[in-house]
Amino acid sequence: MTTAIVVVSHSAQLAQGLCEVAAQMAPDVLLRPAGGTDDGRIGTSFDKLLTAVGELTADGGDGVVVLTDLGSATMTAESVLEMVDDERVLLADAPLVEGTVAAAVAAQGGAGPEEVRRAAEEAALSFAAAQRSGPAEPARGGEVLERVLQLRNPLGLHARPAAQLARLVSGFDAHVEVDGVDGGSVLALLGLGLSGGATMTVRASGPQAEHALDAVAQVVDEGFGEA
């Protein structure tokens, strides 16, 4: 089981589309859209959200994190949380798209609801940080290994490979940076905007630095399984 995510939006299409994007990066996470009113208009539905949360908690799930777009969607979500009164159900105060992607990746990595909520709420910060270019910060202590790799898949470091890479490096006891940003943050990686054929500098430190670099080099050389 992983922490489930509900996306609440005034628009059914927006909620649905965002769940599709996030599912690309988090294939094992339950992502439920709750968009639009009951009769398909623009707005939010108390019942849709209540039903989604009820289903996701009914079988003793690991918890649910709810993300919302604007104003009354947030008020509706707060009302639903007040009604269900379940400590496993949390509301994240985060930008919807960045927050949902970050939450989904965190949930895919096995994070509990509180950690997933934190990932969502920090999404705006990490995304903004990735947009700033600058020298890589020196890793804390120890030797820093470096490799320059070339992206072989035509689309480069888009959403799915970025998520794959972030999950991969999170599995090692090592600090990994890609072009100066945190290699464990899918949003930071996406923010680099690296396209096919681009080169990237990967630095790693820590006990498993070498293994982490080998693993990264391998998936990059394999084009992340894309033609």
């Binding site: 539905s45 104003g71 009354s72 008020m75 509706t76 009302s79 007040e82 009604m83």
Partner: protein, 215 residues
């Protein structure tokens, strides 16, 4: 005579609130069109019509149960911001009330719970040109009657008067919450539709209490 109110009061209140909202549907929409998106009358009419049907089906056996049912029905049928706000108001009113018949202190507790719920949910304060500007003085008026040893009916009558005055007092205010706040200074000169509907609903509460007692 028994000064307290029971479940039949809440049921009668819901019925009178539905009539009031329905009769004032157009007026509420016109208020909302001036400073909002114009759907407040329709939304509330739909909500309270659904409430009537729900109460008839479920026949709740306590004021708390009836208020809770009103809360959940409004949340799922009103939509927009008013759904969660009125839903939370009735939900917190139900929680604040406790068991048994309702006396003046109960009325004050119920209204205080409601206004605190709306304040928490909408993050509005007095003077922001919202429902709070009708509900807050209503709760205070009910509290004053309770402290003087007045009846539940008297507390509701005072609350309804205070809410009406509070709604009227929103006219010169500049909105600081909700869609009306986008208009800034131009929101002044219009009565807030949420404050107005709150006043109508509290008048219904007072009338429901007064009618049963033959005052």
């Amino acid at each position: 005579m028994d000064d307290t109110l029971d479940t039949s009061w809440v049921l009668r209140w819901a019925e009178l609130a539905q009539h009031a909202v329905s009769e004032n549907r157009i007026a509420l929409m016109e208020l909302d069109r001036a400073i909002g998106d114009g759907d407040h009358g329709d939304n509330l009419d739909r909500g309270f019509t659904a409430v009537s049907a729900k109460l008839a089906d479920a026949s709740p056996d306590s004021p708390t149960a009836a208020l809770k049912l009103i809360a959940t029905t409004l949340m799922s049928t009103v939509g927009g911001a008013a759904g969660p706000l009125y839903g939370t108001a009735f939900l917190r009113a139900a929680t604040a009330l406790g068991d048994g018949p309702v006396d003046a202190a109960g009325v004050a507790a119920l209204l205080t719970g409601a206004v605190e719920g709306v304040t928490a949910r909408g993050r509005a304060e007095a003077g922001d040109k919202t429902m709070v500007d009708a509900l807050r003085p209503a709760a205070e008026a009910a509290r004053a009657v309770a402290e003087e040893g007045g009846s539940a009916r008297a507390a509701l009558a005072a609350a309804a008067d205070a809410a009406a005055a509070g709604a009227e007092a929103t006219e010169p205010m500049v909105a600081r919450k909700g869609r009306a706040s986008y208009l800034g200074e131009r929101s002044a000169g219009h009565r807030d539709p949420g404050a107005q509907s709150s006043a109508l609903i509290l008048r219904a509460a007072a009338d429901a209490a007064a009618g049963g007692a033959g005052q």
